[in-house]
Symmetry: C2
Subunit: 204 residues, 2 copies
Protein backbone atom coordinates (compact mmCIF):
# COMPACT_ATOMS: atom_id res chain seq x y z
CA UNK A 1 0.00 0.00 0.00
CA UNK A 2 1.35 3.44 -0.88
CA UNK A 3 2.46 5.35 2.18
CA UNK A 4 2.51 8.75 0.53
CA UNK A 5 6.27 9.03 0.66
CA UNK A 6 7.85 9.79 -2.70
CA UNK A 7 10.91 7.73 -3.59
CA UNK A 8 12.67 10.71 -5.11
CA UNK A 9 11.91 14.41 -5.18
CA UNK A 10 12.42 15.79 -8.67
CA UNK A 11 14.10 19.08 -9.43
CA UNK A 12 11.09 20.45 -11.32
CA UNK A 13 10.57 23.67 -9.38
CA UNK A 14 7.15 22.50 -8.15
CA UNK A 15 6.04 22.44 -4.52
CA UNK A 16 4.85 19.15 -3.06
CA UNK A 17 1.31 20.51 -3.16
CA UNK A 18 1.59 21.43 -6.83
CA UNK A 19 2.96 18.00 -7.59
CA UNK A 20 0.29 16.31 -5.49
CA UNK A 21 -2.42 18.05 -7.44
CA UNK A 22 -0.89 17.46 -10.85
CA UNK A 23 -3.50 15.71 -13.00
CA UNK A 24 -2.75 12.09 -13.74
CA UNK A 25 -2.53 10.34 -17.09
CA UNK A 26 -2.73 6.61 -16.41
CA UNK A 27 -2.40 3.72 -18.86
CA UNK A 28 -3.54 0.17 -18.05
CA UNK A 29 -2.07 -2.18 -20.60
CA UNK A 30 -0.83 -5.76 -20.99
CA UNK A 31 -2.54 -9.04 -21.91
CA UNK A 32 -4.14 -9.75 -18.51
CA UNK A 33 -7.57 -9.03 -17.08
CA UNK A 34 -8.32 -6.00 -14.97
CA UNK A 35 -7.27 -3.15 -17.26
CA UNK A 36 -10.77 -1.75 -17.63
CA UNK A 37 -12.04 -2.97 -14.28
CA UNK A 38 -9.20 -1.14 -12.51
CA UNK A 39 -10.02 2.00 -14.50
CA UNK A 40 -13.64 1.80 -13.36
CA UNK A 41 -12.44 1.18 -9.81
CA UNK A 42 -10.47 4.44 -10.05
CA UNK A 43 -13.59 6.13 -11.38
CA UNK A 44 -15.40 5.11 -8.18
CA UNK A 45 -12.91 7.19 -6.21
CA UNK A 46 -13.35 10.07 -8.64
CA UNK A 47 -17.13 9.80 -8.29
CA UNK A 48 -16.86 9.93 -4.52
CA UNK A 49 -14.78 13.12 -4.79
CA UNK A 50 -17.57 14.71 -6.81
CA UNK A 51 -15.55 14.68 -10.02
CA UNK A 52 -17.47 14.91 -13.29
CA UNK A 53 -16.82 11.60 -15.06
CA UNK A 54 -16.80 10.92 -18.79
CA UNK A 55 -16.49 7.32 -20.00
CA UNK A 56 -15.79 6.66 -23.66
CA UNK A 57 -15.83 3.06 -24.79
CA UNK A 58 -14.04 2.24 -28.02
CA UNK A 59 -15.53 -1.22 -28.39
CA UNK A 60 -18.15 -2.78 -30.56
CA UNK A 61 -19.59 -5.28 -28.14
CA UNK A 62 -22.60 -4.15 -26.15
CA UNK A 63 -22.53 -7.15 -23.83
CA UNK A 64 -19.25 -6.70 -22.00
CA UNK A 65 -19.00 -4.16 -19.21
CA UNK A 66 -22.76 -3.75 -19.03
CA UNK A 67 -22.36 -4.21 -15.26
CA UNK A 68 -19.99 -1.30 -14.84
CA UNK A 69 -22.17 0.83 -17.08
CA UNK A 70 -25.34 0.06 -15.10
CA UNK A 71 -23.61 0.73 -11.79
CA UNK A 72 -22.14 4.04 -12.97
CA UNK A 73 -25.43 5.12 -14.51
CA UNK A 74 -27.01 4.39 -11.12
CA UNK A 75 -24.32 6.48 -9.40
CA UNK A 76 -24.91 9.25 -11.94
CA UNK A 77 -28.67 9.22 -11.22
CA UNK A 78 -27.91 9.31 -7.50
CA UNK A 79 -25.80 12.41 -8.13
CA UNK A 80 -28.63 14.08 -10.06
CA UNK A 81 -31.17 13.26 -7.38
CA UNK A 82 -29.20 13.85 -4.20
CA UNK A 83 -26.06 15.73 -5.20
CA UNK A 84 -23.96 12.90 -3.81
CA UNK A 85 -20.78 12.06 -5.73
CA UNK A 86 -20.15 13.31 -9.25
CA UNK A 87 -21.96 13.40 -12.57
CA UNK A 88 -21.47 10.51 -14.98
CA UNK A 89 -21.64 10.43 -18.77
CA UNK A 90 -21.17 7.09 -20.51
CA UNK A 91 -20.60 7.04 -24.26
CA UNK A 92 -20.16 4.00 -26.49
CA UNK A 93 -18.81 3.78 -29.98
CA UNK A 94 -20.49 0.41 -30.51
CA UNK A 95 -23.98 1.83 -30.87
CA UNK A 96 -22.84 5.03 -32.54
CA UNK A 97 -21.72 7.86 -30.27
CA UNK A 98 -24.69 9.39 -28.46
CA UNK A 99 -23.79 12.92 -29.57
CA UNK A 100 -23.60 11.89 -33.23
CA UNK A 101 -26.43 12.13 -35.72
CA UNK A 102 -24.54 10.25 -38.36
CA UNK A 103 -26.32 7.14 -39.50
CA UNK A 104 -24.27 4.11 -40.32
CA UNK A 105 -21.11 5.08 -38.50
CA UNK A 106 -21.16 1.55 -37.15
CA UNK A 107 -20.23 0.42 -40.64
CA UNK A 108 -17.08 2.50 -40.57
CA UNK A 109 -15.20 1.82 -37.36
CA UNK A 110 -12.24 3.92 -38.35
CA UNK A 111 -14.40 7.00 -38.91
CA UNK A 112 -16.36 6.36 -35.71
CA UNK A 113 -13.17 6.03 -33.68
CA UNK A 114 -11.75 9.24 -35.18
CA UNK A 115 -15.02 11.03 -34.44
CA UNK A 116 -14.93 9.78 -30.85
CA UNK A 117 -11.40 11.01 -30.35
CA UNK A 118 -12.18 14.42 -31.90
CA UNK A 119 -15.07 14.84 -29.46
CA UNK A 120 -12.85 13.84 -26.53
CA UNK A 121 -10.17 16.29 -27.65
CA UNK A 122 -12.79 19.06 -27.78
CA UNK A 123 -14.01 18.18 -24.31
CA UNK A 124 -10.48 18.13 -22.94
CA UNK A 125 -9.87 21.57 -24.43
CA UNK A 126 -13.11 22.81 -22.82
CA UNK A 127 -12.31 21.03 -19.51
CA UNK A 128 -15.71 19.39 -19.75
CA UNK A 129 -14.95 16.49 -17.41
CA UNK A 130 -12.63 16.01 -14.47
CA UNK A 131 -12.03 12.27 -14.94
CA UNK A 132 -11.95 10.50 -18.31
CA UNK A 133 -11.95 6.78 -18.98
CA UNK A 134 -10.87 6.08 -22.57
CA UNK A 135 -11.72 2.40 -22.53
CA UNK A 136 -9.93 0.15 -25.04
CA UNK A 137 -8.64 3.27 -26.73
CA UNK A 138 -5.31 1.61 -27.56
CA UNK A 139 -6.93 -0.41 -30.35
CA UNK A 140 -7.89 2.49 -32.65
CA UNK A 141 -4.38 3.80 -32.00
CA UNK A 142 -2.87 0.47 -32.93
CA UNK A 143 -4.94 0.15 -36.07
CA UNK A 144 -4.07 3.65 -37.23
CA UNK A 145 -7.65 4.93 -36.94
CA UNK A 146 -6.56 7.68 -34.58
CA UNK A 147 -3.25 9.52 -34.82
CA UNK A 148 -0.96 8.67 -31.90
CA UNK A 149 0.99 11.93 -32.12
CA UNK A 150 -2.24 13.94 -31.93
CA UNK A 151 -3.40 11.97 -28.89
CA UNK A 152 -0.04 12.42 -27.16
CA UNK A 153 -0.12 16.16 -27.83
CA UNK A 154 -3.71 16.71 -26.63
CA UNK A 155 -3.28 14.55 -23.53
CA UNK A 156 0.08 15.95 -22.50
CA UNK A 157 -1.02 19.56 -23.06
CA UNK A 158 -4.45 19.20 -21.48
CA UNK A 159 -5.42 22.22 -19.37
CA UNK A 160 -6.59 22.29 -15.75
CA UNK A 161 -6.88 19.28 -13.53
CA UNK A 162 -8.27 16.65 -15.84
CA UNK A 163 -7.37 13.04 -15.04
CA UNK A 164 -7.30 10.54 -17.89
CA UNK A 165 -7.13 6.74 -17.81
CA UNK A 166 -6.49 4.86 -21.06
CA UNK A 167 -6.98 1.09 -21.22
CA UNK A 168 -6.15 -1.64 -23.72
CA UNK A 169 -3.40 -3.94 -24.89
CA UNK A 170 -0.33 -2.81 -26.76
CA UNK A 171 -0.34 0.83 -25.71
CA UNK A 172 2.00 2.77 -28.01
CA UNK A 173 5.40 3.66 -26.50
CA UNK A 174 4.83 7.38 -27.20
CA UNK A 175 1.76 7.25 -24.94
CA UNK A 176 3.60 5.39 -22.19
CA UNK A 177 6.30 8.01 -22.43
CA UNK A 178 3.97 10.85 -21.43
CA UNK A 179 1.91 8.81 -18.95
CA UNK A 180 2.39 9.31 -15.22
CA UNK A 181 1.15 5.90 -14.20
CA UNK A 182 1.56 2.78 -16.31
CA UNK A 183 0.41 -0.60 -15.06
CA UNK A 184 0.75 -3.80 -17.00
CA UNK A 185 -1.74 -6.57 -16.30
CA UNK A 186 -0.30 -10.02 -16.92
CA UNK A 187 -2.42 -13.12 -17.22
CA UNK A 188 -1.08 -15.88 -14.99
CA UNK A 189 -4.12 -18.13 -15.12
CA UNK A 190 -7.56 -17.73 -16.64
CA UNK A 191 -10.71 -19.86 -16.36
CA UNK A 192 -11.18 -19.77 -20.13
CA UNK A 193 -7.91 -21.68 -20.41
CA UNK A 194 -9.65 -24.46 -18.52
CA UNK A 195 -12.54 -24.56 -20.97
CA UNK A 196 -14.84 -22.22 -19.09
CA UNK A 197 -16.80 -19.58 -20.88
CA UNK A 198 -17.51 -16.11 -19.56
CA UNK A 199 -20.30 -15.78 -17.03
CA UNK A 200 -22.61 -13.06 -15.78
CA UNK A 201 -21.43 -11.15 -12.75
CA UNK A 202 -17.84 -11.99 -13.58
CA UNK A 203 -17.13 -11.14 -17.20
CA UNK A 204 -20.05 -8.74 -17.61
Amino acid sequence: MPRGIPVTVPDDGLTTRQRRNAPVLAVHTGPGKGKSTAAFGMALRAWNQGFDIGVFQFVKSAKWKVGEEAAFRALGRLHEETGEGGAVEWHKMGEGWSWSRKAGTEDDHAAAAAEGWNEIARRIEQERHRFYVLDEFTYPLKWGWVDVADVVRVLSERPGKQHVVVTGRDAPPELLEVADLVTEMTKIKHPMDAGRKGQRGIEW
Copy 2:
Protein backbone atom coordinates in the same frame (compact mmCIF):
# COMPACT_ATOMS: atom_id res chain seq x y z
CA MET B 1 -11.34 -8.75 -25.16
CA PRO B 2 -12.49 -12.28 -24.40
CA ARG B 3 -14.66 -13.73 -27.13
CA GLY B 4 -16.16 -16.49 -25.03
CA ILE B 5 -14.35 -19.25 -26.86
CA PRO B 6 -12.43 -21.57 -24.56
CA VAL B 7 -8.88 -22.38 -25.62
CA THR B 8 -9.23 -25.98 -24.56
CA VAL B 9 -12.15 -28.07 -23.38
CA PRO B 10 -11.15 -30.08 -20.32
CA ASP B 11 -12.06 -33.69 -19.75
CA ASP B 12 -13.81 -33.00 -16.45
CA GLY B 13 -17.21 -34.51 -17.21
CA LEU B 14 -18.92 -31.11 -16.92
CA THR B 15 -21.19 -29.57 -19.52
CA THR B 16 -20.30 -26.16 -20.90
CA ARG B 17 -23.17 -24.73 -18.87
CA GLN B 18 -21.91 -26.31 -15.66
CA ARG B 19 -18.45 -24.98 -16.37
CA ARG B 20 -19.78 -21.56 -17.27
CA ASN B 21 -21.57 -21.32 -13.95
CA ALA B 22 -18.69 -22.65 -11.88
CA PRO B 23 -17.96 -20.08 -9.18
CA VAL B 24 -14.71 -18.19 -9.66
CA LEU B 25 -11.83 -17.80 -7.25
CA ALA B 26 -9.72 -14.90 -8.52
CA VAL B 27 -6.43 -13.59 -7.17
CA HIS B 28 -5.03 -10.15 -8.06
CA THR B 29 -1.40 -10.02 -7.06
CA GLY B 30 1.92 -8.43 -8.07
CA PRO B 31 3.62 -5.15 -7.15
CA GLY B 32 1.60 -2.88 -9.45
CA LYS B 33 -1.48 -0.74 -8.91
CA GLY B 34 -4.96 -1.93 -9.72
CA LYS B 35 -5.22 -5.11 -7.67
CA SER B 36 -7.97 -3.79 -5.42
CA THR B 37 -9.43 -1.39 -7.94
CA ALA B 38 -9.92 -4.24 -10.41
CA ALA B 39 -11.58 -6.30 -7.67
CA PHE B 40 -14.00 -3.46 -7.00
CA GLY B 41 -14.58 -3.12 -10.73
CA MET B 42 -15.58 -6.80 -10.77
CA ALA B 43 -17.85 -6.12 -7.82
CA LEU B 44 -19.68 -3.52 -9.92
CA ARG B 45 -20.63 -6.28 -12.35
CA ALA B 46 -21.69 -8.51 -9.49
CA TRP B 47 -23.80 -5.67 -8.04
CA ASN B 48 -25.51 -5.17 -11.38
CA GLN B 49 -26.40 -8.88 -11.46
CA GLY B 50 -28.09 -8.52 -8.11
CA PHE B 51 -25.41 -10.53 -6.29
CA ASP B 52 -25.11 -10.05 -2.54
CA ILE B 53 -21.64 -8.52 -2.01
CA GLY B 54 -19.41 -8.81 1.03
CA VAL B 55 -16.20 -6.75 1.18
CA PHE B 56 -13.63 -7.53 3.86
CA GLN B 57 -10.67 -5.19 4.09
CA PHE B 58 -7.59 -6.47 5.86
CA VAL B 59 -5.87 -3.11 6.15
CA LYS B 60 -5.26 -0.67 8.92
CA SER B 61 -5.52 2.58 7.02
CA ALA B 62 -8.92 4.22 6.95
CA LYS B 63 -7.95 6.76 4.32
CA TRP B 64 -7.27 4.60 1.31
CA LYS B 65 -10.20 3.18 -0.67
CA VAL B 66 -12.67 5.48 1.02
CA GLY B 67 -13.89 6.32 -2.49
CA GLU B 68 -14.76 2.75 -3.37
CA GLU B 69 -16.37 2.28 0.01
CA ALA B 70 -18.55 5.37 -0.35
CA ALA B 71 -19.60 4.40 -3.86
CA PHE B 72 -20.47 0.84 -2.86
CA ARG B 73 -22.33 2.00 0.22
CA ALA B 74 -24.32 4.28 -2.09
CA LEU B 75 -25.03 1.34 -4.40
CA GLY B 76 -26.06 -0.73 -1.38
CA ARG B 77 -28.47 1.98 -0.23
CA LEU B 78 -29.86 2.17 -3.76
CA HIS B 79 -30.49 -1.56 -3.57
CA GLU B 80 -32.31 -1.21 -0.25
CA GLU B 81 -34.44 1.65 -1.53
CA THR B 82 -35.23 0.54 -5.06
CA GLY B 83 -34.29 -3.13 -5.27
CA GLU B 84 -31.83 -2.27 -8.04
CA GLY B 85 -28.57 -4.25 -8.06
CA GLY B 86 -27.42 -6.28 -5.07
CA ALA B 87 -26.95 -5.79 -1.34
CA VAL B 88 -23.55 -4.58 -0.13
CA GLU B 89 -21.80 -5.18 3.18
CA TRP B 90 -18.44 -3.51 3.79
CA HIS B 91 -16.30 -4.63 6.71
CA LYS B 92 -12.94 -3.25 7.79
CA MET B 93 -10.38 -4.70 10.09
CA GLY B 94 -8.79 -1.29 10.60
CA GLU B 95 -11.55 0.02 12.85
CA GLY B 96 -12.27 -3.35 14.44
CA TRP B 97 -14.66 -5.65 12.56
CA SER B 98 -18.21 -4.33 12.71
CA TRP B 99 -19.59 -7.66 13.99
CA SER B 100 -17.04 -7.82 16.81
CA ARG B 101 -17.61 -6.52 20.32
CA LYS B 102 -14.02 -7.03 21.31
CA ALA B 103 -12.38 -3.88 22.46
CA GLY B 104 -8.79 -3.34 21.59
CA THR B 105 -8.54 -5.80 18.73
CA GLU B 106 -6.82 -3.01 16.86
CA ASP B 107 -3.86 -3.54 19.16
CA ASP B 108 -3.54 -7.14 18.08
CA HIS B 109 -3.52 -7.28 14.30
CA ALA B 110 -2.82 -10.99 14.20
CA ALA B 111 -5.86 -11.79 16.33
CA ALA B 112 -8.04 -9.36 14.39
CA ALA B 113 -6.98 -10.89 11.07
CA ALA B 114 -7.68 -14.41 12.36
CA GLU B 115 -11.06 -13.30 13.63
CA GLY B 116 -11.86 -11.75 10.25
CA TRP B 117 -10.97 -14.93 8.43
CA ASN B 118 -12.97 -17.09 10.83
CA GLU B 119 -16.04 -14.95 10.18
CA ILE B 120 -15.50 -15.15 6.42
CA ALA B 121 -15.12 -18.92 6.63
CA ARG B 122 -18.43 -19.12 8.56
CA ARG B 123 -20.16 -16.95 5.97
CA ILE B 124 -18.79 -19.05 3.12
CA GLU B 125 -20.07 -22.19 4.82
CA GLN B 126 -23.49 -20.54 5.22
CA GLU B 127 -23.40 -19.14 1.66
CA ARG B 128 -24.09 -15.74 3.11
CA HIS B 129 -22.81 -13.72 0.15
CA ARG B 130 -22.57 -14.37 -3.57
CA PHE B 131 -19.47 -12.24 -4.23
CA TYR B 132 -16.64 -11.74 -1.74
CA VAL B 133 -13.78 -9.26 -1.94
CA LEU B 134 -11.01 -10.24 0.49
CA ASP B 135 -8.99 -7.07 0.09
CA GLU B 136 -5.28 -7.21 0.93
CA PHE B 137 -5.87 -10.63 2.42
CA THR B 138 -2.49 -11.90 1.22
CA TYR B 139 -0.70 -9.93 3.94
CA PRO B 140 -2.12 -11.79 6.98
CA LEU B 141 -1.35 -14.98 5.04
CA LYS B 142 2.21 -13.84 4.42
CA TRP B 143 2.75 -12.84 8.02
CA GLY B 144 1.40 -16.14 9.33
CA TRP B 145 -1.60 -14.55 11.04
CA VAL B 146 -3.99 -16.74 9.08
CA ASP B 147 -3.27 -20.34 8.11
CA VAL B 148 -2.79 -20.71 4.35
CA ALA B 149 -3.81 -24.38 4.31
CA ASP B 150 -7.08 -23.55 6.09
CA VAL B 151 -7.83 -20.76 3.62
CA VAL B 152 -7.07 -22.99 0.64
CA ARG B 153 -9.34 -25.71 2.03
CA VAL B 154 -12.28 -23.41 2.81
CA LEU B 155 -12.05 -21.56 -0.49
CA SER B 156 -11.60 -24.61 -2.69
CA GLU B 157 -14.41 -26.51 -0.94
CA ARG B 158 -16.83 -23.61 -0.73
CA PRO B 159 -20.42 -24.64 -1.46
CA GLY B 160 -22.85 -23.18 -3.98
CA LYS B 161 -22.01 -20.39 -6.40
CA GLN B 162 -19.91 -18.08 -4.32
CA HIS B 163 -17.34 -15.98 -6.18
CA VAL B 164 -14.26 -14.84 -4.27
CA VAL B 165 -11.60 -12.28 -5.20
CA VAL B 166 -8.44 -12.06 -3.12
CA THR B 167 -6.08 -9.11 -3.54
CA GLY B 168 -2.57 -8.27 -2.35
CA ARG B 169 1.09 -8.75 -3.13
CA ASP B 170 2.94 -12.02 -2.73
CA ALA B 171 -0.05 -14.35 -2.87
CA PRO B 172 1.05 -17.79 -1.60
CA PRO B 173 1.62 -20.43 -4.32
CA GLU B 174 -0.90 -22.78 -2.66
CA LEU B 175 -3.60 -20.16 -3.18
CA LEU B 176 -2.61 -19.53 -6.80
CA GLU B 177 -2.77 -23.27 -7.32
CA VAL B 178 -6.48 -23.48 -6.47
CA ALA B 179 -7.43 -20.12 -8.06
CA ASP B 180 -9.26 -20.04 -11.38
CA LEU B 181 -8.12 -16.60 -12.38
CA VAL B 182 -4.76 -15.11 -11.43
CA THR B 183 -3.71 -11.68 -12.65
CA GLU B 184 -0.43 -10.07 -11.82
CA MET B 185 -0.26 -6.29 -11.81
CA THR B 186 3.19 -4.97 -12.68
CA LYS B 187 4.26 -1.42 -12.07
CA ILE B 188 5.83 0.07 -15.16
CA LYS B 189 5.74 3.69 -14.07
CA HIS B 190 4.23 5.43 -11.08
CA PRO B 191 3.78 9.14 -10.26
CA MET B 192 5.24 8.61 -6.78
CA ASP B 193 8.51 7.68 -8.46
CA ALA B 194 8.53 11.22 -9.81
CA GLY B 195 8.13 12.72 -6.36
CA ARG B 196 4.36 13.04 -6.42
CA LYS B 197 2.29 12.15 -3.42
CA GLY B 198 -1.10 10.47 -3.50
CA GLN B 199 -4.06 12.68 -4.31
CA ARG B 200 -7.78 12.60 -3.76
CA GLY B 201 -9.86 11.07 -6.50
CA ILE B 202 -6.88 9.06 -7.67
CA GLU B 203 -5.34 7.23 -4.72
CA TRP B 204 -8.40 7.42 -2.47
